[in-house]
Amino acid sequence: MLQHTPLYDAHIAAGARMVDFGGWEMPINYGSQIEEHHKVRQAAGMFDVSHMTVVDILGNQARHFLSYLLANDVAKLQTPGRALYTCMLNEAGGVIDDLITYFIEETHFRLVVNAATHDKDMAWITSQARAFDVEVKERPELAMVAVQGPEARAKVIALLDDADAQAAAELKPFSAAQFGDKFVARTGYTGEDGFEISLPADSATALWDQLLEAGVSPCGLGARDTLRLEAGMNLYGQDMDETVTPLESGLGWTLALKDDRAFVGKDALLKQKEEGVANRFVGLVLKDRGVLRPGQRVVTEAGEGITTSGSFSPTLQKAIAFARIPGGAAESCQVDIRGKLLGCAIVRPPFARNGTVCEGII
């Protein structure tokens, strides 16, 4: 039995094609995934992300606990409302999940973790929390809508009352604030400006309808995937999992390793750094016609690797991918597509953000 979000009926009404996504029946598209993709790069689109798991960490040791649980350092969060992207690791440095944490107040932090990893995440967080004076409280009554694109913030702000509108307009990137029943964060997973809004499930359809009325296009998980791939953002379960560390997944930038803070997985990461990280995580752009997909064999001068994510990029009009390949300074490689070796340029993601192709990509 698949789970439904509070916006299920709204999706059906909008003509969505629904698919099973980690046990949730979610929209893959509402007609054309490519049109939805372009809407987000050029105007404004909205995604139902209510399937994601919201977990509040409450209590006097909330910061202390997250400082131990997470590989990025919550000490960076000093202003209430600030958000941080981080991995949650096991002792071997493998990635249990990636997530965003919000600092709401000293006794209240919020985590937003992936839907498909809900059970293992909750089990892990709860077990790790036992040694701390914190309460781990899931918030299944919250729905979440991501409104993304160059026009997204203005569309949301226009729905708020005057005082809230001004405050929402002043929100800096990676910051959030509560406005009435809406928790509004200037975050996203598309490489565009916008908001992610958490709100009570019974208010979700009203917000969705107001945004629809304002000309915001409903977008499915299909467009969400090509947008995040263009934006150089990893997808858990594809680009990283418990068998690899952030250092092999292009996520070294999310690690806070320099001070003496202890956190789960740190020793393993330090050891891997000392011994040298064998693999590079890179972007690929296919030079020929064709489409890159996850799991394709990559041939380089230094040995073989594998693509982890891949698709057709509507912004570049070329196939792009992430790949884990052996270290070395190669600028190009070949990918095995149905037995044919096709040439790819090796690039540094992101491929496209803020409506356009990034510098140095093509």
Binding site: R17, Q33, R289, G290
Partner: protein, 128 residues
């Protein structure tokens, strides 16, 4: 409800076959198939002159989501391919039965056509 023209013949793997006036068979994918695949972004067609056998994979269509093999509905020699698809694979989404055709085959055995489904049988197979 997907469009299933009554003058065409169909396979279970969602190809359509049109019997042309010159005796050749023109082949494409159905409206149902293009809708299930989503936006098409790449098509790999056989080469003119290729000999293809009924049931064998002979082309690939790729959408943003996935790659899908096209199986030869009939055996024969490929005599034409739709070159417009190279630059504009989305023609298959927009017009799967006309501008979005894939290739044309000179039949070896016209009796193979008798084994294909008519529109009614194909529609029933979609309902199963």
């Amino acid at each position: 409800m997907s469009n299933i023209p009554s003058h065409l013949q169909y396979t279970e793997s969602h190809e359509w076959v049109s019997s042309e006036d010159n005796g050749n068979a023109r082949i494409g994918i159905t409206d149902h198939a293009q809708e299930a695949l989503g936006d098409l972004v790449f098509v790999e067609l056989p080469v003119v002159g290729d000999e293809i056998s009924q049931g064998d994979p002979c082309a690939v269509v790729e959408s943003v989501k996935a790659a899908s093999d096209i199986y030869a509905p009939v055996s024969g020699k490929v005599v034409a391919v739709n070159e417009d698809l190279e630059g504009e694979p989305a023609l298959i989404n927009a017009d799967p039965y006309d501008d979005g055709w894939l290739f044309e085959v000179e039949l070896i055995d016209s009796e193979e056509l008798d084994g294909l489904k008519d529109a009614e049988a194909y529609e029933e197979s979609l309902e199963d």
